[in-house]
Subunit: 103 residues, 2 copies
């Protein structure tokens, strides 16, 4: 069965990109303990210093959705929300066929 991939942008208000990415790096530590988490990358957009990209791979969409129940994740989300410049766009969903670098 293919894995569930998600690639999405979070846009911070001006000057808050750095703070947002540190919160997301913290989230990565928590989320990586969740069942089915195979990749949770936090990246800066080369063209917009207040835009942060999260690239995820999960064994299934259900595992991804369940990860919101991991202790501490909701607190981090509540820290991140006030830094966002409007609601986050829905990420690009991908059917991960395989490749190198994940289990």
């Amino acid at each position: 069965m293919n894995k569930y991939g998600l690639h999405g942008k979070l846009k911070a208000t001006v000057g808050n990109g750095e703070q947002l990415s540190s919160i997301l790096l913290e989230a990565a530590k928590l989320v990586s303990t969740a069942k089915g988490c195979q990749l949770y990358l936090v990246s800066k957009d080369k063209e917009d210093e207040d835009a942060v990209w999260v690239t995820e791979v999960w064994s299934s969409k259900a595992d991804h959705d369940d990860s919101l129940k991991v202790e501490g994740v909701r607190e981090l989300i509540s820290q991140a929300m006030p830094l966002l410049d409007g609601m986050p766009e829905k990420g690009q969903e991908l059917d991960v066929l395989g490749g190198a670098g994940i289990k």
Copy 2:
């Protein structure tokens, strides 16, 4: 130093998405042997069965560029090119800060 990320789409001519993704999965095996390759994922676009996404993370852009010298990669590229629906768009370059799932 941040890692070099690349997320790009390759669009096949109608009906050739499957074949293109198999070539790219072969490429993943070769490229993963290249210095600095930390991730080379091949995914199907959920909305377009002839579009294939490649998501890469490298220790540096230089390592990425050098990977084209890996034996066999050029042959695979030459197999893939005739299947493409026009020139591939330049991928999205990312400054990978960290996260979970790669070394």
